[in-house]
Amino acid sequence: MNILGLSAFYHDSAAALVRDGEILAAAQEERFTRKKHDERFPEHALRYCLETAGLQASDLDAVIFYEKPLLKFERLLETYLAYAPRGLFSFFRAMPPWLQQKLHLPREIDRGLGGGYAGPIYFCTHHEAHAASAFYPSPFGEAAILTMDGVGEWATTSWGTGRGNAIELRGEIRFPHSLGLLYSAFTSYCGFRVNSGEYKLMGLAPYGEPRYAGLIRRHLIDLREDGSFRLDMAYFNYCQGLTMTNRRFHRLFGGPPRRPDSEPTQREMDLAASIQLVTEEAMLNIARHVHRETGLPDLCLAGGVALNCVGNGRILREGPFENIWIQPAAGDAGGALGAALWCWYHQLGNARTPQPRDSQQGSYLGPAFSPAQVRAELGALNAVCETFATEEQLADAIAAALDEGKIVGHFAGRAEFGPRALGHRSLLGDPRRPDMQTRMNTAIKFRESFRPFAPAVLEGRQSDYFDLTAASPYMLLVAPVRADRRGPSAPGEERLSGLARLKALRGDLPAVTHVDHSARVQTVGADRSPRFHAILRAFERRTGCPVLVNTSFNIRGEPVVHTPSEAYRCFMFTDMDVLVVEDCLLRKEAQPPLEGAAAYRRRFGAAD
């Protein structure tokens, strides 16, 4: 039975195809359209899913959407009514897309499927989709489930249990009280874009001191013993206006929001540290409550807040759960996958057998390119490739380049589903080099130099470098770097503040150790990604270090590269030294010149 899950019309639209409970394909629309967080109907992602499974639209047995639009519409209208006449302007902005499109999803879905599908269209709630995406692919037969995000229909946080093939959501916190929206309010106040700048705020937090945390707890959020929380809506404007925060909020924190074109100051760093701390406290608080209520040792997480890997790391280390599993596509894109799984297991009642590792397949669920396609695309660009007799020789050549300090773009196998690049669409570098972070940020990605990079480490070796024993295959856990790997403090280092802390040397792995000595770890096993594992092994053989810098293969504002020719352009128009596309290795110095660098950087560099 083939079930198509869809998410669309808010942000991060995606499609996922599940056959008899097995995930065949999942992809986010932005990769195909090259528009970051594309919210339009996922026609390209949907076509990819059908092609991968060798299906026509008419072969589908069910289509399921990740939200209940009428319930969401009810929330919108009731909220506007509660705030009327304030919010009239926002109301008039919001209504046209609802009346034209969002309320007519069956029509939109039929149209998107080219009229070839006559079967049922189902809808599950936003948080049911998140809960399903967290529990069904997890390795647990029974587990507590916690989903936290901005808002779906009404729920902003929900918790419950998963047993076998059934999910029971037992409690929820409703709009407008939302941990995700609180975090987004600070994201916007600190001058970053809502729904995409939250990572930046999280990356900025370690540079600051949480000096506003008390103010946030006293005025903005009431954290209660039962894990719930309430926001004081007098400080927010998102119910009725077109901004997240209002003047009262700005007065509380002593000034207007940062202008996006200005540099973040110590104040923004302190604000980031403060909201990060309070968010972690709220996450821990809820996790403890869910544990008390369910008594289960394992926890599954999803929803946009579950991408807060610092908070996830604290739940793992300080929380009551023994194991946690986090859906790698924890945001709305993952809702497409969750909806399809919900339909198969929960709605149709099919039996579920959890897989020992999980059934997410390393999240390598996106498009792959055959050697013939790669050669055709690169040939059309007159690219000069080297090939190797064996995979091992290729891995050795990549390791040698990395050891020389070169930055390697690696494009191989199926693309990742979810926001993290996990080795298949990645930029790799040597983590032992102190200049690597700044070089990769400024010369390759054209992004802010404060943003940290993540380490990929051979599975089983993570505890040699980090205070982490659990596997973290999806790069969703932040763990401290081991004390003996941090290196001695430089004289006067403790007096440094803000971005100056970036220049202080940080131990054995300076390129992936954040200023607070933390790292967002990915553990790499041979079963999920043999190629990436082989590169790490080759690098370890050569240098003794089983760790590499791993960041997504894109520049600022650009979705992760999708085709070999996009990878080649990114390679040619940035300071990347080496590109590997499947079995082809390309060195920058061997390539003929390529026109269009300025236009390429302009196209993406301005938008983030």
């Binding site: 009428l70 319930l71 009810e74 209208l77 007519h104 069956p106 009229g115 599908y117």
Partner: protein
């Protein structure tokens, strides 16, 4: 193309199932306002004043 239930039928079911009575007058006003806007651009425009 598949035959689907109309949006208004779905909405009616939703209001009944969720006892969302509050929505009924809001939807009615929206529909009336929509009709006014549509009719305001047609030959029926001169008659609209007499309705209110």
């Amino acid at each position: 193309m598949a035959r689907r239930r109309s949006f208004l039928a779905e909405l009616f079911d939703f209001i009944l199932a969720h006892k969302a009575w509050l929505l009924a007058p809001i939807i009615l006003v929206l529909v009336l306002a929509g009709l006014l806007i549509i009719l305001g651009g047609t030959k029926a425009a001169p008659f609209i004043y007499t309705l209110f």
